[in-house]
Symmetry: C2
Subunit: 516 residues, 2 copies
């Protein structure tokens, strides 16, 4: 045989081998992963507890680096080529690569390993002393010794520690998924990259720089964002977008000193009244934004997105009851549908005093704090321009610094605007081949309905991936919805970890087969 | 002569005697009072300082009664029949009568002897240690010993003590005016009553009861209210009314717990937005109240009132400059004209947080504090009804106590309204004979233009006199406008005390001659 011929045969054999292995994984992966997990339960929890025992505030330089080193070691143990990506004055990003020979697609898994600050006095057991309980603390959960875990764990068994849910759980789930696949001799169906950030809870201040600096490493078909909890119904959830955000602080000025409301009331401009009237000109009771042009750039929902929203579990009724609400803005439109629109949220208004502290006085200024939630394809800069034009049309003179007294003497109705920089929304089409592949993979692994969220209402800078890196993003959370994220007694329900291992194993081993 | 004849002659002689004395007093009273004052300057200041040395918080039961006793003694020293009018749980009212034989008209002088609470740490010299200074503290005024006062005092000499201006000054001025008249052998031209209240600064909570309880004592042609400062131009001022007031605290409810503005913004009702829209429905930027019917009962100004307002010194320009205002509500209408109208003043709005403390959150409630300033002939009860009708028309469900969670589940847009009891405005016509008499008397005593204010913008319960007792009220202040009323380092400019003595002497001795 000529050398090329020999190569050809080898390639055919390899392809046949891989195909066989693929077919195998398509049907058996979740079962294999479960088998592995049941056999290695204590070992998995033990490794997870070791990771959770490392204090992980982004500002705690020594400890946050201990986390990064530990995670790098965890990756290397699985044969992942790992390194720390350094950005000045920032916790390192733990980066890893694992290539799947002959596979053309690549997924990047994003997780963050830092956690929210803690108020240790509010924790039942210390935040970095991982503690297993047979059920939730609120339900009387009792601590269990790690070495005494029964084979069949009670279904609500949880591990309590800072970042148990947010966001170290997906790190452990991914590592154990790789272990399970290796034990079953199943190869990944896609090339894998891992991008574990260390300052998400501190605001991801260096993420934009890091993304741009290391863009060459980050080519991929999609980012899989593993953060946050699954749907309240406990169904698996995939989310394809997030709203953008722009913050605005407004200050309107009255007289230079506080005036008696009897002696000067309806002559001295009342800044509270000016603020109420300005806010009222911007938004009605039903969440409709009255600023001209605000909805011009809103991308209409696709039929698939509408269908996905229709298919979401209806939680509005139970939420209204829980929140003691007799009505909701935009009713009968659902929460899921409402957050597909931009929002003007009044976060705060501060004028003089109310109640027992009130004074018969006209205040010197009125302040309001707003966030605008943006949807595709609104740009923060255009939103700022539209808002400023609207405010000018209401008769205000806009300044971006505090006016002097002489400036106040010169201009009626001064408003000072302090804009946050903000960032745009991101939304990945659920009709992309990669989206369809991930959806059908997770559905088949799960073997039941999942929740497909075209966009979540909150804001995360997904645009860095979708707009800067031009890469689709799919959010794939695994934590329980009642994990006390950001609060005291944060926890992860172990069943959610088990599910995560199966889901990630299924995705890594099989997604290529769902790719059409 | 028959007895009736003898009586007739006696009456003629008496009338001639009184006429002579009246003519005398008409021309010479201010000069006589000045002569007396110059001769007794130290003695007057000494008596005043003794009164100011008595701590006079309405809540300080022992001391407030020492004030009442001291004032009663001061009255009795002048031949005034004095007693304490007791109302349970309240400082006594010091009441006095001095009849003028053969005179048909009666004036009641109202003054209050209690003072505002003090923060002693803010005072340069202690609040109840009266201290004379050769000019205002802000201008470097130096303390002078009482026994070393020069005959010709510097024009800005002031006495510093709590209540020096507000409101013990008129007590001293009245007493010294009586002394001056007696020394010059000039009899009062009217019957005199004195009504010195002891809890004005604590809110006059017992005044309505006292007025009703002692109504039989209080028959008079007019009340002369001696309180507050004269016009900023330092001209003498007579004021014929005050606005009424009704306070309102509003609370609008959002979700039962604070919600993430990204995940729930434009679905969960935003109480800040509801509050802004409600307030905007009630008042425009130019002080116009948009509540239907609000102006229906407003009594139009008379030609005399319009003329008086036109004749007032124009202080708007200097006030705008002082207050750093480029515009005023209702412009080009003046401050004096604006306060003749009712007002809706936003005193405070409180929703969530602004600035550094802001959170990406939808608040559980929004609160606003309002005062309505009323003018004749608006009634507090009707105003309350109009406001509630308006709020209902905006789609709100009104409650007067805090809603339970179940009530919040049952009713959309709940607003809780907490009304203060309030009281109506009062305005005495400047065209009444007594008004004309007092105006022309003060003008001739002063020998120069005075300021005639048809109504002041602030609220005092003058209605007790005008509506309950059906007696006209004229406000006749004597303190300097820069007396630090209610604040630390309160003071009275001694020239204002001297002026007060002359003005009161002129009024008491001569007003009958101005009565047409």
């Amino acid at each position: 045989m000529t050398t090329p011929k020999r190569w050809k045969i080898a390639l055919i054999l390899l392809t046949a081998f891989l195909s066989k292995q693929t077919i195998h994984s398509q049907t058996a992966v979740p079962a294999k992963a479960r088998e592995y997990r049941i056999a290695h339960q204590t070992q998995i929890v033990d490794e997870f507890a070791s990771l959770l025992a490392l204090p992980n505030l982004a500002t705690d330089k020594a400890n946050i680096r201990r986390n990064a080193d530990a995670i790098r070691t965890m990756l290397e143990k699985r044969g992942v080529t790992a390194k720390l990506l350094e950005v000045p004055d920032s916790p390192p990003i733990v980066y890893g690569e694992m290539s799947a020979p002959g596979r053309k697609h690549t997924l990047v898994f994003y997780v963050h390993y830092d956690g929210q600050p803690v108020d240790a006095s509010q924790w039942t057991t210390p935040p970095w002393v991982p503690t297993i309980r047979d059920k939730a603390l609120e339900d009387g959960g009792k601590a269990m010794r790690l070495t005494e875990l029964p084979q069949a764990l009670p279904p609500e068994t949880r591990i309590y520690a800072r970042s148990a849910g947010d966001d170290k759980a997906p790190i452990q789930a991914l590592m154990s998924a790789l272990d399970a696949l290796k034990a079953a001799n199943i190869s990944p169906s896609v090339n894998l990259k891992f991008f574990f950030e260390g300052e998400e809870e501190a605001g991801s201040g260096h993420l934009p720089d890091a993304i741009r600096q290391y863009a060459d490493l980050l080519h991929a078909d999609a980012w899989i964002l593993c953060d946050g909890p699954v749907h309240q119904s406990r169904r698996m959830e995939l989310s394809f977008g997030a709203r953008g955000v722009v913050d605005l602080e407004m200050t309107i000025y009255g007289p230079a000193r506080v005036l008696h409301s009897g002696h000067y009331g309806n002559w001295a401009p009342n800044p509270g009244s000016l603020m109420a009237n300005l806010l009222a000109s911007m938004r009605d009771d039903n969440a409709h934004i009255k600023i001209a042009g605000f909805y011009d750039d809103v991308r209409p929902l696709t039929d698939s997105e509408r269908a996905a929203i229709q298919a979401m579990p209806d939680i509005d009724g139970s939420l209204r009851n829980e929140l003691a609400l007799a009505w909701t803005e935009g009713s009968p439109s659902s929460l899921a549908m409402q957050i597909m629109q931009p929002a003007l949220n009044i976060r705060g208004i501060e004028v003089g005093h109310v109640g027992a502290k009130t004074q018969n006085a006209i205040s010197t200024e009125a302040r309001a704090s707003i966030d605008f939630r943006l949807v595709p394809d609104e740009s923060p800069d255009k939103v700022k321009a539209l808002v400023e034009r609207h405010i000018q049309q209401q008769g205000f003179y806009i300044m971006h610094q505090t006016p002097t007294l002489d400036e106040r003497r010169a201009h009626p109705r001064i408003v000072k605007l302090d804009w946050g920089s903000g960032y745009p929304a991101a939304r990945t089409s659920i009709d992309l081949p990669v989206s369809r592949a991930v959806i059908s993979n997770v559905e088949s692994t799960r073997g039941g309905p999942i929740v497909i969220v075209p966009s979540s209402g909150g804001s995360v800078p997904m645009y860095l991936f979708t707009d800067v890196l031009k890469t689709p993003v799919i959010s794939f959370p695994i934590a329980n919805h009642d994990d006390n994220q950001h609060a005291a007694n944060e926890n992860l329900r172990l069943q959610n970890l088990w599910d995560g291992i199966e889901m990630f194993a299924g995705l890594i081993a099989g997604v290529e087969n769902n790719w059409k």
